[in-house]
């Protein structure tokens, strides 16, 4: 786990460096002698940098006990869920909101939760219907039209 904490520290350090770089080179630290738009981000970047270095420093050295970041194959279901959701966003505008909701729920239940095809399909269609009634009819959300609806 210590190594992952160190990676997190490096990530925050990189963010801090980016904030400082943008504040100094792109934004203005001071404007007519007064704090400018880069003043606060610069200060925050410096503090974040110090905190990131502290985080890396206290996590140096060997692991006290071997705790895996992920249990065997525990990453698979979250990764599948992320993939399905990303695919949903990609096709959202093209196939329409309601159809993409149905596809998302069916894929999620079938691939992530390993439910049978009929159960997944039925749940997907019912969810699409509820979203249509609540958001499109009741709340009048202007969803993108797609191939079916």
């Amino acid at each position: 786990m210590k190594s992952w904490q160190r990676y997190a520290g490096v990530f925050f350090l990189a963010l801090a460096a980016l904030a400082i770089q943008q504040s100094v080179w792109v934004l203005r630290l001071f404007d007519h002698g007064q704090p400018g738009s880069g003043f606060m981000p610069f200060g925050l970047g410096v503090i974040l940098g110090v905190l990131a270095i502290c985080l890396i420093a206290i996590n140096l050295g060997p692991e006290e006990q071997q705790v895996p970041f992920w249990e065997p194959r525990a990453w698979l279901r979250p990764l599948l869920a992320i993939g399905i959701t990303a695919a949903y966003v990609v096709v959202f505008d093209d196939i329409g909101a309601i159809t993409s909701v149905v596809v998302l729920v069916v894929c999620w239940l079938f691939f992530v939760e390993h439910k049978s095809a009929p159960v997944s399909a039925l749940t997907g269609v019912l969810t699409g219907l509820v979203v249509y009634l609540v958001f499109e009819r009741f709340l009048q959300t202007p969803f993108p039209r797609g191939i079916l609806f």
Binding site: M1, W4, Q5, A8, F12, L15, A19, Q22, L27, D31, G33, Q34, P35, G36, S37, G38, F39, M40, P41, L44, G45, I47, L48, L51, A52, C54, L55, I58, F69, W70, A74, W75, R77, P78, A81, I82, T85, A86, Y88, V89, F92, D93, A97, V101, L104, V105, W108, L109, V112, E113, K115, T123, T127, V131, F135, L139, Q140, T141, P142, F143
Partner: protein, 501 residues
Amino acid sequence: MFDVAGLWLGFQIAFSPVNLLWGLIGCVLGTAVGVLPGLGPAATIALLLPISMKMGSPVTAIILMSGIFYGAMYGGSTTSILLKIPGEAASVVTCIDGYEMAKQGRAGPALGIAAIGSFIAGTIGLIGLTAMAPPLAEAALKFGPAEYFSLTVLGLLLATYLTGDSPLKGLTMAILGLMLGCIGLDPLSGAVRFDFGVADLQSNIDFVTLAMGLFGVGEILFSLEKSETASILTTKIKNVFPTLADLARSGWAMVRGSVIGFLVGILPGGGAVLSSLISYAVEKKVSKHPEEFGHGAIEGVAGPESANNAAASSSFIPLLTLGIPGNASTAMIFAALLIHGITPGPFLLKEHADVFWGVVASMYIGNVMLLVLNLPLVGIWVQLLRVPYAFMAPLIMVLTLVGVYSVNNSVFDIWVMLVMGIFGYLARKLKFDLGPLLLAFVLGPIMERSLRQALLISNGDFAIFFVRPISGALMAIAILFVTYNLWAARKEKRKAQAKAA
């Protein structure tokens, strides 16, 4: 001491059929999310933010959200007692003695005392809120930019130190939240910051998008790792109404829990979790039978459950009077008020008395609703635990995706939410508390505006934060607080090293 006219106005608003209905929906939803492990009140309020925007009246929207917040405190005890899994973070300590009571066949009295304690403490907290909020709002009118900056600094420090295990990680999250708040238009000069040429980033990251990503998507991804399902204790739930002996043993625990919860709840970051932990420690300390704690002591349920409800009520004091939310859930309510064009703070009571008193009065009514929902109807909530999470996860995901799109009709917002969700998932795995991030994101613009305005007034002299009496006092408290915590941590480390040697 009491603004009777204000409270009367509030009850007139809260008793309108629409507000009663939404108040009831909020209490039911709150109890449900409290009962169900995995989805907390902050995530639920985030999910409902887009729907609240479609509600015409801000009072109704805030009544719904407050109902979810304090309703979750009631419901959280059910899973703690029956499953030994806290439905809500504030019910962690209830697991200890509540589950032991259930194993001894006393699940009914444990659930009953939790509901009664919650009702009494919630009402005491509300009386405190009604009495303290107006004078505090009056006093806050004297606050200038320097005072607001010092107050936000103190609030963020308290929030990062009092929540989570590691102040370093809490502070890192808070700074990250402040930095995310800097993306987009500068509130003073109008310059665009950190847009990297992406037009969608020029208009700031939306609070709903961030909250739904961190708390909605992040929570779902995290819960997907665990495929095992907990089994409900197969004890029969009977005698939900506690006996006189149980009430006599729990009476003072409820009073102490209410007072502790009320005081801790006012502090930013204090909130329901910390107050329940303190209450449990106090009960164990003052008990004539401390050996019974951990083996089904009813005071170990009554005290913490009272404390977390009182804290939920009193956490509205800094939110409504100073405009400073103390935890993730009140930060969501803060955002909901802003969405409806209302700025929480000292002027709220003067300019939107209907919102202030309507919400306060609805909380009195909501407490009664929750007592009814949680005492005779506890069996229904237990049945809710049998709904498989496998079906709930994709449905919650759909609600977040469609909900976030409906705010700005922007696909870019969905991408931002997904990225924030992945970040939230990894942060949870690395034990970074996301509460300070969200609080800082909300407080960031107030903090930056106050800082730059104060420096403008003082011609760039930072001494303004220390020489003005209120600001100086707040800064002194912040410095003392950090110094004390650093000293305590150092002492603890030396003690551990000496022990190891």
